[in-house]
């Protein structure tokens, strides 16, 4: 009985203890102040479903944030960023793996003092015997969804919704008059 209780205690204690998932990680550094390479097994989950119990079959089809329910300790990791240095989230990359068990490799950010907990930049994903897939699909998917936004420059300079808001409220979001004055100061 005591051994059983000890085992149960150990299982509960696991998520609370700082675990090292850096072994065998091939994650590339982004030179972020609190980054730690982290490779782990997880289930791709709809965070809203995990938190509230509201669970559509398709993880929200791209409309919901996706997380990684880590197999080793049942911790819900927030998949915040994909591997593209282009202001891009991770939902597009993880959605094909909705409710599947995968292995991910990337950078974990934890800082007890901030505090920051379980924020993750996913760099690559592996499902079963398949090859590793780079978590770099956002711009391809964006281009498919925005065929009329072709042109030079990165996606975020050509995105119709972003450009419409900037055209209406300026780069500072404070109105075009303030924007004009600020740009005169900035580029004088």
């Amino acid at each position: 009985m005591i051994r059983l209780a000890a085992a149960a205690f150990a299982l509960f204690a696991a998520p609370l203890a700082a675990q090292d998932f850096s072994a065998n990680s091939e994650a590339k550094t982004w030179n972020l102040y609190a980054e730690v390479p982290a490779k782990f097994d997880a289930k791709v989950v709809d965070v809203m479903c995990e938190i509230t119990g509201d669970c559509p079959a398709d993880c929200g089809a791209g409309d919901r944030q996706l997380g990684l329910l880590r197999s080793a300790d049942n911790v819900l990791v927030m998949a915040t960023k994909n591997n593209q240095p282009a202001f891009t989230g991770a939902v597009v990359d993880l959605l094909p793996y909705c409710n599947q068990d995968v292995t991910v490799d990337g950078l974990m950010i934890n800082d007890e003092d901030f505090p920051i907990n379980n924020v993750y930049l996913v760099q690559r994903i592996k499902a079963g015997d398949a090859d590793w897939a780079k978590a770099s699909q956002f711009t391809k998917v964006w281009a498919t969804k925005n065929p009329d936004a072709k042109g030079k420059g990165p996606w975020f300079r050509r995105d119709p919704r972003i450009n419409a808001l900037i055209e209406k409220e300026g780069y500072l979001g404070l109105g075009l008059e303030i924007d004009k004055e600020f740009k005169e100061y900035l580029f004088e």
Partner: protein, 148 residues
């Protein structure tokens, strides 16, 4: 023994169940959580408000999680923003980037992350955090230099 095992299994199953929420009304700024947490653009004070507004638009549009930075410093990751719109790249999230709002919703906490499901934006105060006065613009290339 069987009863003990049943209790243990029941407790182990608990994390898989939905967390218990609490209804809150909270005022704060809608922020880009990646830049705020990662430090990729600089310290947390520089990646909020007007200085970071354009970058916040970029990140929100791509589906990076948005957060509600409350007046007490708590960050709530926003899972839903209003009754009809999602918080992942949705139009409402984009329109409210960098705005200070009062939200009525359910808050949850799990594994060190606070979450909020916003049922209603009670008040939208617009952008009131004028960080461009201290930081100009973050990142510096957010506003393209005028062509000669």
């Amino acid at each position: 023994m069987n009863k003990v095992l049943a209790v243990i299994l029941g407790l182990l199953a608990t994390p898989a169940l939905a967390a218990e929420g609490e209804r809150i009304i909270v005022t704060g700024e809608i922020i880009d959580t990646w830049c705020y947490y990662s430090g990729v653009m600089g310290g947390p004070d520089s990646v909020v408000g007007s200085a970071h507004h354009t970058c916040a638009l970029w990140c929100s549009a791509s589906g990076i999680p948005i957060g509600l930075l409350a007046e007490d410093g708590t960050v709530y990751t926003i899972l839903k923003l209003g009754p009809q719109d999602n918080a992942t790249g949705g139009d409402t999230a984009l329109t409210l980037a960098s705005h200070t709002i009062t939200a009525d919703g359910m808050s949850y906490s799990r594994d060190g992350i606070n979450y909020i499901v916003v049922e209603k934006v009670v008040e939208d105060m617009g952008i009131v955090n004028l960080t461009h006065e201290d930081y100009d613009v973050i990142p510096p290339f957010a506003i393209p230099e005028p062509k000669e």
